[in-house]
Protein backbone atom coordinates (compact mmCIF):
# COMPACT_ATOMS: atom_id res chain seq x y z
CA UNK A 1 0.00 0.00 0.00
CA UNK A 2 2.74 2.46 0.94
CA UNK A 3 4.65 1.39 -2.13
CA UNK A 4 1.62 2.28 -4.22
CA UNK A 5 1.37 5.66 -2.52
CA UNK A 6 5.03 6.50 -3.12
CA UNK A 7 4.52 5.51 -6.73
CA UNK A 8 1.53 7.80 -6.91
CA UNK A 9 3.50 10.85 -5.82
CA UNK A 10 6.74 9.94 -7.46
CA UNK A 11 6.21 11.63 -10.78
CA UNK A 12 6.20 15.38 -11.14
CA UNK A 13 3.13 15.39 -13.33
CA UNK A 14 1.21 13.57 -10.60
CA UNK A 15 2.44 16.02 -7.99
CA UNK A 16 1.22 18.88 -10.15
CA UNK A 17 -2.03 17.09 -10.75
CA UNK A 18 -2.62 16.70 -7.02
CA UNK A 19 -1.72 20.28 -6.18
CA UNK A 20 -3.85 21.76 -8.95
CA UNK A 21 -6.61 19.27 -8.26
CA UNK A 22 -6.68 20.13 -4.59
CA UNK A 23 -6.88 23.85 -5.24
CA UNK A 24 -9.64 23.39 -7.79
CA UNK A 25 -11.55 21.04 -5.50
CA UNK A 26 -11.53 23.52 -2.63
CA UNK A 27 -12.62 26.34 -4.92
CA UNK A 28 -15.30 24.23 -6.51
CA UNK A 29 -16.59 23.05 -3.15
CA UNK A 30 -16.99 26.60 -1.85
CA UNK A 31 -18.25 28.29 -5.00
CA UNK A 32 -20.36 25.29 -5.92
CA UNK A 33 -22.20 25.51 -2.63
CA UNK A 34 -23.37 29.03 -3.40
CA UNK A 35 -24.01 28.16 -7.02
CA UNK A 36 -26.42 25.44 -5.95
CA UNK A 37 -27.96 27.70 -3.33
CA UNK A 38 -28.60 30.42 -5.89
CA UNK A 39 -29.97 27.94 -8.46
CA UNK A 40 -27.27 28.82 -10.92
CA UNK A 41 -26.47 25.29 -12.08
CA UNK A 42 -27.28 26.03 -15.70
CA UNK A 43 -25.25 29.25 -15.57
CA UNK A 44 -22.30 27.30 -14.19
CA UNK A 45 -22.57 24.76 -16.97
CA UNK A 46 -22.83 27.52 -19.57
CA UNK A 47 -19.87 29.47 -18.23
CA UNK A 48 -17.80 26.34 -18.51
CA UNK A 49 -18.77 25.91 -22.14
CA UNK A 50 -18.16 29.57 -22.89
CA UNK A 51 -14.60 28.79 -21.89
CA UNK A 52 -14.39 26.59 -24.94
CA UNK A 53 -14.82 29.58 -27.25
CA UNK A 54 -12.44 31.63 -25.16
CA UNK A 55 -9.67 29.07 -25.21
CA UNK A 56 -9.97 28.26 -28.90
CA UNK A 57 -10.28 31.91 -29.85
CA UNK A 58 -7.18 32.74 -27.88
CA UNK A 59 -5.27 29.92 -29.57
CA UNK A 60 -6.33 31.31 -32.90
CA UNK A 61 -5.06 34.77 -32.02
CA UNK A 62 -1.82 33.33 -30.68
CA UNK A 63 -2.69 34.50 -27.20
CA UNK A 64 -2.36 32.19 -24.18
CA UNK A 65 -5.57 30.12 -23.90
CA UNK A 66 -5.91 30.96 -20.22
CA UNK A 67 -6.28 34.63 -21.09
CA UNK A 68 -9.01 33.80 -23.56
CA UNK A 69 -10.67 31.68 -20.91
CA UNK A 70 -10.71 34.53 -18.42
CA UNK A 71 -11.91 37.16 -20.88
CA UNK A 72 -14.71 35.05 -22.32
CA UNK A 73 -15.85 33.87 -18.90
CA UNK A 74 -16.04 37.43 -17.58
CA UNK A 75 -17.91 38.64 -20.66
CA UNK A 76 -20.37 35.80 -20.38
CA UNK A 77 -20.94 36.48 -16.69
CA UNK A 78 -21.84 40.08 -17.50
CA UNK A 79 -24.06 38.86 -20.31
CA UNK A 80 -25.93 36.44 -18.12
CA UNK A 81 -26.38 39.07 -15.44
CA UNK A 82 -27.69 41.78 -17.75
CA UNK A 83 -29.87 39.57 -19.89
CA UNK A 84 -31.31 38.09 -16.72
CA UNK A 85 -31.99 41.49 -15.16
CA UNK A 86 -35.48 41.65 -16.56
CA UNK A 87 -36.44 38.77 -14.32
CA UNK A 88 -36.86 39.17 -10.61
CA UNK A 89 -34.35 38.30 -7.90
CA UNK A 90 -33.96 34.57 -7.78
CA UNK A 91 -35.33 33.93 -11.24
CA UNK A 92 -32.81 34.14 -14.00
CA UNK A 93 -33.28 33.89 -17.70
CA UNK A 94 -32.66 30.29 -18.71
CA UNK A 95 -33.14 31.24 -22.29
CA UNK A 96 -30.49 33.95 -22.22
CA UNK A 97 -28.06 31.54 -20.54
CA UNK A 98 -28.84 28.93 -23.14
CA UNK A 99 -28.43 31.38 -25.99
CA UNK A 100 -24.99 32.47 -24.80
CA UNK A 101 -24.05 28.86 -24.28
CA UNK A 102 -24.98 27.83 -27.83
CA UNK A 103 -23.41 30.85 -29.45
CA UNK A 104 -20.11 30.34 -27.67
CA UNK A 105 -19.97 26.68 -28.62
CA UNK A 106 -20.60 27.60 -32.23
CA UNK A 107 -17.92 30.29 -32.07
CA UNK A 108 -15.54 27.87 -30.46
CA UNK A 109 -16.03 25.40 -33.23
CA UNK A 110 -15.60 28.15 -35.78
CA UNK A 111 -12.27 29.11 -34.24
CA UNK A 112 -11.13 25.51 -34.28
CA UNK A 113 -12.12 25.35 -37.94
CA UNK A 114 -9.90 28.33 -38.67
CA UNK A 115 -6.89 27.34 -36.65
CA UNK A 116 -4.37 24.77 -37.64
CA UNK A 117 -4.22 23.14 -34.21
CA UNK A 118 -6.51 20.24 -34.72
CA UNK A 119 -8.87 17.95 -32.86
CA UNK A 120 -6.47 17.24 -30.00
CA UNK A 121 -6.86 20.77 -28.84
CA UNK A 122 -10.62 20.43 -28.68
CA UNK A 123 -10.40 17.34 -26.56
CA UNK A 124 -7.98 18.90 -24.11
CA UNK A 125 -10.11 21.96 -23.65
CA UNK A 126 -13.33 20.03 -23.38
CA UNK A 127 -12.15 17.21 -21.18
CA UNK A 128 -9.16 18.63 -19.40
CA UNK A 129 -5.64 17.47 -19.15
CA UNK A 130 -5.08 17.01 -15.46
CA UNK A 131 -2.23 14.59 -15.98
CA UNK A 132 -0.37 17.09 -18.13
CA UNK A 133 -0.45 20.26 -16.07
CA UNK A 134 2.64 22.45 -16.25
CA UNK A 135 4.25 24.23 -13.33
CA UNK A 136 3.09 27.57 -14.70
CA UNK A 137 -0.48 26.37 -14.75
CA UNK A 138 -0.25 25.25 -11.15
CA UNK A 139 1.10 28.66 -10.20
CA UNK A 140 -1.60 30.49 -12.09
CA UNK A 141 -4.25 28.30 -10.53
CA UNK A 142 -2.95 29.06 -7.07
CA UNK A 143 -2.64 32.80 -7.71
CA UNK A 144 -6.21 33.04 -9.00
CA UNK A 145 -7.65 30.75 -6.38
CA UNK A 146 -6.52 32.62 -3.28
CA UNK A 147 -8.21 35.97 -3.96
CA UNK A 148 -11.33 34.25 -5.30
CA UNK A 149 -11.58 32.09 -2.21
CA UNK A 150 -10.90 35.01 0.11
CA UNK A 151 -13.54 37.09 -1.64
CA UNK A 152 -16.22 34.44 -1.34
CA UNK A 153 -15.46 33.54 2.26
CA UNK A 154 -15.35 37.19 3.33
CA UNK A 155 -18.72 37.88 1.75
CA UNK A 156 -20.17 34.54 2.82
CA UNK A 157 -22.69 35.94 5.29
CA UNK A 158 -24.22 38.70 3.14
CA UNK A 159 -24.08 36.38 0.15
CA UNK A 160 -25.94 33.71 2.07
CA UNK A 161 -28.54 36.23 3.20
CA UNK A 162 -28.96 37.60 -0.31
CA UNK A 163 -29.24 34.12 -1.76
CA UNK A 164 -31.80 32.77 0.64
CA UNK A 165 -34.03 35.82 1.06
CA UNK A 166 -33.13 38.53 -1.46
CA UNK A 167 -36.12 40.76 -0.81
CA UNK A 168 -35.52 41.00 2.92
CA UNK A 169 -31.78 41.25 2.42
CA UNK A 170 -32.21 44.19 0.11
CA UNK A 171 -34.53 45.85 2.59
CA UNK A 172 -31.80 45.43 5.19
CA UNK A 173 -29.28 47.20 2.99
CA UNK A 174 -27.44 44.20 1.56
CA UNK A 175 -26.26 45.06 -1.98
CA UNK A 176 -28.11 42.19 -3.59
CA UNK A 177 -27.50 43.22 -7.20
CA UNK A 178 -23.79 43.75 -6.71
CA UNK A 179 -23.46 40.44 -4.93
CA UNK A 180 -25.29 38.74 -7.76
CA UNK A 181 -22.97 40.17 -10.38
CA UNK A 182 -19.92 39.66 -8.18
CA UNK A 183 -20.76 36.06 -7.59
CA UNK A 184 -21.28 35.40 -11.28
CA UNK A 185 -17.86 36.89 -11.94
CA UNK A 186 -16.22 34.72 -9.29
CA UNK A 187 -17.99 31.68 -10.71
CA UNK A 188 -16.72 32.62 -14.15
CA UNK A 189 -13.13 32.98 -12.92
CA UNK A 190 -13.23 29.71 -10.99
CA UNK A 191 -14.53 27.94 -14.06
CA UNK A 192 -11.85 29.48 -16.27
CA UNK A 193 -9.10 28.37 -13.93
CA UNK A 194 -10.51 24.92 -13.37
CA UNK A 195 -10.91 24.22 -17.07
CA UNK A 196 -7.21 23.51 -17.28
CA UNK A 197 -7.53 20.82 -14.69
CA UNK A 198 -10.74 18.99 -15.42
CA UNK A 199 -11.83 20.58 -18.68
CA UNK A 200 -14.88 22.45 -19.81
CA UNK A 201 -17.39 19.67 -19.57
CA UNK A 202 -16.42 18.46 -16.13
CA UNK A 203 -15.77 21.43 -13.89
CA UNK A 204 -19.49 21.41 -13.63
CA UNK A 205 -19.46 18.04 -11.89
CA UNK A 206 -17.14 19.32 -9.16
CA UNK A 207 -19.27 22.40 -8.70
CA UNK A 208 -22.61 20.64 -8.51
CA UNK A 209 -22.37 17.17 -7.04
CA UNK A 210 -20.48 17.74 -3.77
CA UNK A 211 -22.69 20.72 -3.00
CA UNK A 212 -25.87 18.85 -3.90
CA UNK A 213 -24.80 15.98 -1.65
CA UNK A 214 -23.90 18.35 1.18
CA UNK A 215 -27.37 19.85 1.09
CA UNK A 216 -28.81 16.43 1.72
CA UNK A 217 -26.53 15.81 4.67
CA UNK A 218 -27.08 18.94 6.71
CA UNK A 219 -29.27 21.98 7.00
CA UNK A 220 -26.77 24.32 8.58
CA UNK A 221 -25.04 26.49 5.96
CA UNK A 222 -21.52 26.49 7.34
CA UNK A 223 -21.59 22.74 7.85
CA UNK A 224 -22.91 22.26 4.33
CA UNK A 225 -20.10 24.41 2.99
CA UNK A 226 -17.52 22.35 4.86
CA UNK A 227 -19.01 19.07 3.69
CA UNK A 228 -19.08 20.33 0.14
CA UNK A 229 -15.37 21.14 0.23
CA UNK A 230 -14.40 17.88 1.92
CA UNK A 231 -16.39 15.81 -0.54
CA UNK A 232 -14.91 17.66 -3.50
CA UNK A 233 -11.43 16.94 -2.16
CA UNK A 234 -12.12 13.27 -1.55
CA UNK A 235 -13.63 12.72 -4.99
CA UNK A 236 -10.76 14.54 -6.68
CA UNK A 237 -8.03 12.67 -4.82
CA UNK A 238 -9.72 9.32 -5.29
CA UNK A 239 -10.27 10.14 -8.95
CA UNK A 240 -6.63 11.08 -9.45
CA UNK A 241 -5.42 7.93 -7.77
CA UNK A 242 -7.78 5.73 -9.76
CA UNK A 243 -6.74 7.50 -12.94
CA UNK A 244 -3.09 6.87 -12.14
CA UNK A 245 -3.48 3.17 -11.49
CA UNK A 246 -5.76 2.44 -14.42
CA UNK A 247 -5.75 3.54 -18.06
CA UNK A 248 -9.18 5.14 -17.66
CA UNK A 249 -9.67 8.91 -17.53
CA UNK A 250 -9.48 10.78 -14.23
CA UNK A 251 -12.61 12.81 -14.95
CA UNK A 252 -14.66 9.67 -15.33
CA UNK A 253 -13.62 8.49 -11.88
CA UNK A 254 -14.23 11.83 -10.20
CA UNK A 255 -17.71 12.15 -11.63
CA UNK A 256 -18.61 8.53 -10.93
CA UNK A 257 -17.45 8.58 -7.32
CA UNK A 258 -19.34 11.82 -6.80
CA UNK A 259 -22.51 10.56 -8.39
CA UNK A 260 -22.48 7.20 -6.65
CA UNK A 261 -22.06 8.87 -3.30
CA UNK A 262 -24.83 11.33 -4.09
CA UNK A 263 -27.15 8.48 -4.99
CA UNK A 264 -26.28 6.58 -1.83
CA UNK A 265 -27.03 9.64 0.27
CA UNK A 266 -30.37 10.14 -1.45
CA UNK A 267 -31.25 6.49 -0.96
CA UNK A 268 -30.29 6.70 2.69
CA UNK A 269 -32.50 9.76 3.09
CA UNK A 270 -35.39 7.98 1.44
CA UNK A 271 -35.04 4.92 3.64
CA UNK A 272 -34.59 6.91 6.84
CA UNK A 273 -37.58 9.16 6.33
CA UNK A 274 -40.13 7.42 4.11
CA UNK A 275 -42.84 9.88 5.09
CA UNK A 276 -40.96 12.80 3.59
CA UNK A 277 -40.54 11.83 -0.03
CA UNK A 278 -39.77 14.96 -1.97
CA UNK A 279 -41.02 13.95 -5.41
Amino acid sequence: MSAALTGLFHYHFMQNAFIAGTIVAILAGVVGYFMVLRSLSFAGHSLANVGFAGATGASLLGVPPLLGLFVSAVLAAFGIYWLGLGARYGRRSDVATGAIFSASLALGFLFVHFSTAQANNIYNVLFGNVLGISDTSVLITAITALPALALVLLSARPLLFASVDPAVAEARGVPVGMLALGFLLVLALVVAVAVQVVGVLLIFALLVTPAATARRLSTRPMIELLISVILALIFTWAGLAAGYFTPLPVSFFITTFAFVFYTLVRLANLLARPAQLSS
Binding site: F42, H45, V95, T97, A99, S102, A205, L248, F252
Partner: protein
Protein backbone atom coordinates in the same frame (compact mmCIF):
# COMPACT_ATOMS: atom_id res chain seq x y z
CA UNK B 1 -15.78 20.01 -43.41
CA UNK B 2 -16.94 18.31 -46.60
CA UNK B 3 -14.96 16.32 -49.08
CA UNK B 4 -15.79 18.45 -52.10
CA UNK B 5 -13.58 17.23 -54.87
CA UNK B 6 -13.99 20.40 -56.86
CA UNK B 7 -12.82 23.89 -56.09
CA UNK B 8 -14.99 26.19 -54.03
CA UNK B 9 -18.38 26.93 -55.54
CA UNK B 10 -18.62 30.55 -56.51
CA UNK B 11 -21.49 32.76 -55.61
CA UNK B 12 -22.82 34.32 -58.81
CA UNK B 13 -25.25 36.62 -57.01
CA UNK B 14 -27.90 35.44 -59.36
CA UNK B 15 -29.84 33.88 -56.52
CA UNK B 16 -31.91 31.49 -58.54
CA UNK B 17 -28.87 30.13 -60.37
CA UNK B 18 -27.00 29.78 -57.10
CA UNK B 19 -29.77 27.76 -55.52
CA UNK B 20 -30.11 25.51 -58.56
CA UNK B 21 -26.36 25.02 -58.60
CA UNK B 22 -26.37 24.10 -54.93
CA UNK B 23 -29.11 21.55 -55.39
CA UNK B 24 -27.20 19.78 -58.08
CA UNK B 25 -25.26 18.10 -55.34
CA UNK B 26 -27.16 15.26 -53.77
CA UNK B 27 -25.54 15.78 -50.39
CA UNK B 28 -27.00 19.29 -50.38
CA UNK B 29 -30.41 17.99 -51.33
CA UNK B 30 -30.24 15.45 -48.51
CA UNK B 31 -29.00 18.08 -46.12
CA UNK B 32 -31.86 20.43 -46.96
CA UNK B 33 -34.40 17.66 -46.67
CA UNK B 34 -33.17 16.45 -43.32
CA UNK B 35 -32.55 19.98 -42.10
CA UNK B 36 -36.02 21.19 -42.96
CA UNK B 37 -37.70 18.24 -41.28
CA UNK B 38 -35.60 18.72 -38.17
CA UNK B 39 -36.28 22.45 -38.11
CA UNK B 40 -40.02 21.91 -38.16
CA UNK B 41 -39.83 19.56 -35.24
CA UNK B 42 -37.25 21.65 -33.37
CA UNK B 43 -39.44 24.73 -33.67
CA UNK B 44 -42.49 22.91 -32.33
CA UNK B 45 -40.76 21.07 -29.52
CA UNK B 46 -38.59 24.07 -28.68
CA UNK B 47 -41.62 26.25 -28.07
CA UNK B 48 -42.86 23.90 -25.39
CA UNK B 49 -39.37 23.62 -23.91
CA UNK B 50 -39.46 27.35 -23.32
CA UNK B 51 -43.01 27.49 -22.04
CA UNK B 52 -42.29 24.62 -19.67
CA UNK B 53 -39.03 26.28 -18.58
CA UNK B 54 -37.09 23.15 -19.40
CA UNK B 55 -34.18 24.73 -21.22
CA UNK B 56 -31.64 23.09 -18.93
CA UNK B 57 -33.27 19.68 -19.41
CA UNK B 58 -33.07 20.15 -23.16
CA UNK B 59 -29.40 21.02 -22.99
CA UNK B 60 -28.69 18.15 -20.65
CA UNK B 61 -30.36 15.74 -23.07
CA UNK B 62 -28.07 16.82 -25.88
CA UNK B 63 -25.08 15.97 -23.67
CA UNK B 64 -26.71 12.65 -22.83
CA UNK B 65 -27.04 12.06 -26.57
CA UNK B 66 -23.29 12.49 -26.94
CA UNK B 67 -22.66 9.87 -24.26
CA UNK B 68 -25.23 7.57 -25.84
CA UNK B 69 -23.63 7.83 -29.26
CA UNK B 70 -20.14 7.16 -27.94
CA UNK B 71 -21.41 4.35 -25.72
CA UNK B 72 -23.16 2.76 -28.65
CA UNK B 73 -20.02 2.97 -30.73
CA UNK B 74 -17.92 1.41 -27.97
CA UNK B 75 -20.40 -1.40 -27.40
CA UNK B 76 -20.47 -2.07 -31.11
CA UNK B 77 -24.11 -1.18 -31.61
CA UNK B 78 -25.49 1.51 -33.86
CA UNK B 79 -24.62 4.89 -32.30
CA UNK B 80 -28.03 6.27 -33.21
CA UNK B 81 -29.67 3.43 -31.28
CA UNK B 82 -27.39 4.14 -28.32
CA UNK B 83 -28.37 7.78 -28.47
CA UNK B 84 -32.08 7.16 -28.61
CA UNK B 85 -32.03 4.63 -25.79
CA UNK B 86 -29.96 6.76 -23.45
CA UNK B 87 -31.76 10.02 -24.18
CA UNK B 88 -35.15 8.42 -23.60
CA UNK B 89 -33.87 6.89 -20.34
CA UNK B 90 -32.47 10.26 -19.35
CA UNK B 91 -35.68 12.03 -20.29
CA UNK B 92 -37.79 9.67 -18.22
CA UNK B 93 -35.46 10.11 -15.27
CA UNK B 94 -35.59 13.89 -15.56
CA UNK B 95 -39.32 13.88 -16.02
CA UNK B 96 -39.81 12.09 -12.73
CA UNK B 97 -37.74 14.46 -10.61
CA UNK B 98 -39.27 16.87 -8.12
CA UNK B 99 -41.48 19.42 -9.78
CA UNK B 100 -40.10 22.52 -8.10
CA UNK B 101 -37.83 24.24 -10.60
CA UNK B 102 -34.79 24.68 -8.38
CA UNK B 103 -34.90 21.07 -7.17
CA UNK B 104 -35.40 19.85 -10.70
CA UNK B 105 -32.47 21.79 -12.09
CA UNK B 106 -30.23 20.48 -9.36
CA UNK B 107 -31.25 16.90 -10.05
CA UNK B 108 -30.72 17.44 -13.78
CA UNK B 109 -27.33 18.91 -13.00
CA UNK B 110 -26.10 15.99 -10.93
CA UNK B 111 -27.24 13.39 -13.46
CA UNK B 112 -25.78 15.46 -16.29
CA UNK B 113 -22.44 15.73 -14.51
CA UNK B 114 -22.15 11.98 -14.27
CA UNK B 115 -23.38 11.35 -17.81
CA UNK B 116 -20.64 13.66 -19.08
CA UNK B 117 -18.10 11.65 -17.11
CA UNK B 118 -19.42 8.51 -18.80
CA UNK B 119 -19.10 10.29 -22.12
CA UNK B 120 -15.43 10.93 -21.46
CA UNK B 121 -14.95 7.28 -20.61
CA UNK B 122 -16.63 6.08 -23.79
CA UNK B 123 -14.72 8.60 -25.87
CA UNK B 124 -11.44 7.40 -24.41
CA UNK B 125 -12.33 3.77 -24.98
CA UNK B 126 -13.55 4.56 -28.47
CA UNK B 127 -10.42 6.35 -29.60
CA UNK B 128 -8.23 3.72 -28.01
CA UNK B 129 -9.92 0.57 -29.15
CA UNK B 130 -12.31 1.20 -31.99
CA UNK B 131 -10.97 2.23 -35.33
CA UNK B 132 -12.54 5.38 -36.68
CA UNK B 133 -12.72 4.44 -40.31
CA UNK B 134 -16.38 5.19 -40.80
CA UNK B 135 -15.96 8.93 -40.41
CA UNK B 136 -17.70 8.68 -37.07
CA UNK B 137 -15.80 10.33 -34.27
CA UNK B 138 -16.30 12.37 -31.17
CA UNK B 139 -16.11 15.48 -33.28
CA UNK B 140 -18.88 14.48 -35.65
CA UNK B 141 -21.15 13.64 -32.75
CA UNK B 142 -20.38 16.90 -31.00
CA UNK B 143 -20.62 19.17 -34.01
CA UNK B 144 -22.72 17.31 -36.52
CA UNK B 145 -22.20 16.27 -40.07
CA UNK B 146 -25.28 17.32 -41.93
CA UNK B 147 -23.45 17.27 -45.21
CA UNK B 148 -22.69 13.57 -44.96
CA UNK B 149 -26.27 12.45 -44.46
CA UNK B 150 -27.24 9.81 -46.98
CA UNK B 151 -30.54 9.77 -48.83
CA UNK B 152 -31.66 6.85 -46.69
CA UNK B 153 -30.77 8.65 -43.46
CA UNK B 154 -32.60 11.73 -44.68
CA UNK B 155 -35.70 9.67 -45.38
CA UNK B 156 -35.61 8.18 -41.89
CA UNK B 157 -35.15 11.62 -40.36
CA UNK B 158 -38.13 12.97 -42.29
CA UNK B 159 -40.29 10.04 -41.21
CA UNK B 160 -39.35 10.29 -37.53
CA UNK B 161 -39.68 14.07 -37.54
CA UNK B 162 -43.09 13.76 -39.10
CA UNK B 163 -44.13 11.32 -36.41
CA UNK B 164 -42.95 13.56 -33.60
CA UNK B 165 -44.61 16.64 -35.09
CA UNK B 166 -47.88 14.80 -35.48
CA UNK B 167 -47.77 13.45 -31.92
CA UNK B 168 -47.00 16.89 -30.57
CA UNK B 169 -49.76 18.61 -32.49
CA UNK B 170 -52.22 16.02 -31.25
CA UNK B 171 -51.44 16.76 -27.58
CA UNK B 172 -50.70 20.46 -28.10
CA UNK B 173 -53.79 21.80 -26.36
CA UNK B 174 -53.71 19.71 -23.19
CA UNK B 175 -49.94 20.01 -23.06
CA UNK B 176 -50.13 23.77 -23.24
CA UNK B 177 -52.76 23.83 -20.52
CA UNK B 178 -50.64 21.52 -18.34
CA UNK B 179 -47.53 23.60 -18.97
CA UNK B 180 -48.99 26.99 -18.25
CA UNK B 181 -51.22 26.12 -15.31
CA UNK B 182 -50.53 22.61 -14.06
CA UNK B 183 -52.68 22.80 -10.95
CA UNK B 184 -55.80 23.97 -12.70
CA UNK B 185 -55.17 21.52 -15.52
CA UNK B 186 -54.85 18.65 -13.07
CA UNK B 187 -58.07 19.74 -11.41
CA UNK B 188 -59.75 19.65 -14.81
CA UNK B 189 -58.63 16.08 -15.34
CA UNK B 190 -55.66 16.69 -17.62
CA UNK B 191 -53.02 13.98 -17.01
CA UNK B 192 -50.29 16.50 -16.20
CA UNK B 193 -47.52 14.12 -15.16
CA UNK B 194 -48.16 11.71 -17.99
CA UNK B 195 -48.12 14.52 -20.51
CA UNK B 196 -44.92 15.78 -18.95
CA UNK B 197 -43.22 12.41 -19.36
CA UNK B 198 -44.59 12.04 -22.89
CA UNK B 199 -43.22 15.43 -23.83
CA UNK B 200 -39.82 14.57 -22.38
CA UNK B 201 -39.72 11.43 -24.53
CA UNK B 202 -40.60 13.47 -27.63
CA UNK B 203 -37.85 15.92 -26.70
CA UNK B 204 -35.39 13.06 -26.28
CA UNK B 205 -36.12 11.58 -29.69
CA UNK B 206 -35.97 15.03 -31.31
CA UNK B 207 -32.59 15.66 -29.76
CA UNK B 208 -31.26 12.25 -30.77
CA UNK B 209 -32.41 12.75 -34.37
CA UNK B 210 -31.13 16.30 -34.64
CA UNK B 211 -27.72 15.39 -33.26
CA UNK B 212 -26.97 13.65 -36.55
CA UNK B 213 -27.42 16.93 -38.37
CA UNK B 214 -26.10 19.69 -36.18
CA UNK B 215 -24.35 17.70 -33.48
CA UNK B 216 -24.86 17.31 -29.76
CA UNK B 217 -23.48 20.69 -28.82
CA UNK B 218 -25.60 22.70 -31.20
CA UNK B 219 -28.93 20.93 -31.39
CA UNK B 220 -29.89 22.89 -28.35
CA UNK B 221 -29.51 26.15 -30.28
CA UNK B 222 -31.94 25.04 -32.96
CA UNK B 223 -34.36 23.92 -30.30
CA UNK B 224 -34.13 27.03 -28.18
CA UNK B 225 -33.41 30.13 -30.23
CA UNK B 226 -36.14 30.18 -32.90
CA UNK B 227 -38.74 29.37 -30.25
CA UNK B 228 -37.29 32.01 -27.92
CA UNK B 229 -37.65 34.64 -30.63
CA UNK B 230 -41.18 33.48 -31.41
CA UNK B 231 -42.19 33.66 -27.79
CA UNK B 232 -40.98 37.25 -27.63
CA UNK B 233 -42.85 38.23 -30.74
CA UNK B 234 -46.28 36.91 -29.88
CA UNK B 235 -48.20 35.57 -26.92
CA UNK B 236 -50.64 33.50 -28.93
CA UNK B 237 -49.51 29.87 -28.72
CA UNK B 238 -50.39 28.65 -32.19
CA UNK B 239 -48.94 31.78 -33.75
CA UNK B 240 -45.78 31.30 -31.71
CA UNK B 241 -45.51 27.67 -32.82
CA UNK B 242 -45.79 28.73 -36.43
CA UNK B 243 -43.24 31.52 -36.05
CA UNK B 244 -40.83 29.18 -34.29
CA UNK B 245 -41.03 26.68 -37.13
CA UNK B 246 -40.57 29.36 -39.78
CA UNK B 247 -37.59 30.85 -37.98
CA UNK B 248 -35.98 27.45 -37.49
CA UNK B 249 -36.40 26.60 -41.17
CA UNK B 250 -35.04 30.00 -42.18
CA UNK B 251 -31.96 29.61 -40.01
CA UNK B 252 -31.33 26.18 -41.41
CA UNK B 253 -31.79 27.11 -45.06
CA UNK B 254 -29.65 30.21 -44.85
CA UNK B 255 -27.13 28.46 -42.66
CA UNK B 256 -26.75 25.60 -45.11
CA UNK B 257 -26.43 27.98 -48.05
CA UNK B 258 -23.84 30.13 -46.34
CA UNK B 259 -22.01 27.00 -45.31
CA UNK B 260 -22.02 25.74 -48.86
CA UNK B 261 -20.60 28.90 -50.36
CA UNK B 262 -18.17 29.78 -47.60
CA UNK B 263 -16.90 26.36 -46.62
CA UNK B 264 -17.63 27.05 -42.98
CA UNK B 265 -19.24 24.27 -40.93
CA UNK B 266 -23.00 24.28 -41.48
CA UNK B 267 -23.96 23.73 -37.86
CA UNK B 268 -21.98 26.83 -36.92
CA UNK B 269 -23.67 28.94 -39.60
CA UNK B 270 -27.12 27.80 -38.57
CA UNK B 271 -26.48 28.43 -34.87
CA UNK B 272 -24.88 31.84 -35.29
CA UNK B 273 -27.68 32.96 -37.60
CA UNK B 274 -30.27 31.96 -35.02
CA UNK B 275 -28.28 33.68 -32.29
CA UNK B 276 -27.95 36.91 -34.28
CA UNK B 277 -31.70 36.81 -34.86
CA UNK B 278 -32.32 36.36 -31.15
CA UNK B 279 -30.05 39.20 -30.10
CA UNK B 280 -31.50 41.39 -32.84
CA UNK B 281 -35.05 40.84 -31.70
CA UNK B 282 -34.23 41.37 -28.03
CA UNK B 283 -32.19 44.42 -28.86
CA UNK B 284 -34.84 46.04 -31.00
CA UNK B 285 -37.51 45.34 -28.41
CA UNK B 286 -35.34 46.90 -25.72
CA UNK B 287 -34.80 49.95 -27.90
CA UNK B 288 -38.51 50.21 -28.58
CA UNK B 289 -39.21 50.05 -24.87
CA UNK B 290 -36.66 52.76 -24.21
CA UNK B 291 -38.27 54.95 -26.84
CA UNK B 292 -41.68 54.29 -25.35
CA UNK B 293 -40.29 55.27 -21.97
CA UNK B 294 -38.93 58.53 -23.31
CA UNK B 295 -42.16 59.17 -25.17
CA UNK B 296 -44.37 58.58 -22.18
CA UNK B 297 -42.24 60.89 -20.05
CA UNK B 298 -42.58 63.65 -22.58
CA UNK B 299 -46.27 62.99 -22.95
CA UNK B 300 -47.60 61.95 -19.57
CA UNK B 301 -51.15 61.64 -20.85
CA UNK B 302 -50.32 59.29 -23.69
CA UNK B 303 -51.57 55.75 -23.87
CA UNK B 304 -48.23 54.11 -24.45
CA UNK B 305 -47.12 51.80 -21.65
CA UNK B 306 -43.91 52.69 -19.88
CA UNK B 307 -41.28 49.99 -19.52
CA UNK B 308 -39.51 48.91 -16.40
CA UNK B 309 -41.13 47.85 -13.18
CA UNK B 310 -44.64 47.70 -14.42
CA UNK B 311 -44.09 45.36 -17.27
CA UNK B 312 -43.38 41.71 -16.72
CA UNK B 313 -40.55 40.95 -19.08
CA UNK B 314 -40.93 37.69 -20.82
CA UNK B 315 -37.95 35.46 -21.39
Amino acid sequence: MTALDISFPRLTWNLWLDVVHMFQYDFMRNAFLAGTALSVVAGLVGYFVIVRRQAFAGEALSDVAFTGAMGGAVLGINPLAGMIVLTIAGALAMGSFAQRVSERDLAIGTVLAWVLGLGVLFLTLFTAHVSGSSGFSGVTVLFGSILSISAHQAAVIVAVAGGIALALLLVARPLLFASVDPDVAAARGVPVRLLGLFFMVLLAVTVAEAVQAVGALLVFALLLLPAAIAQRLTTRPYAALGVAVVLAITSTWFGLTIGFYSGLPSSVCITLLAFVGYVGVIGSMAIRRRLADVWSHDNPNSQLPASGMHQETRQ
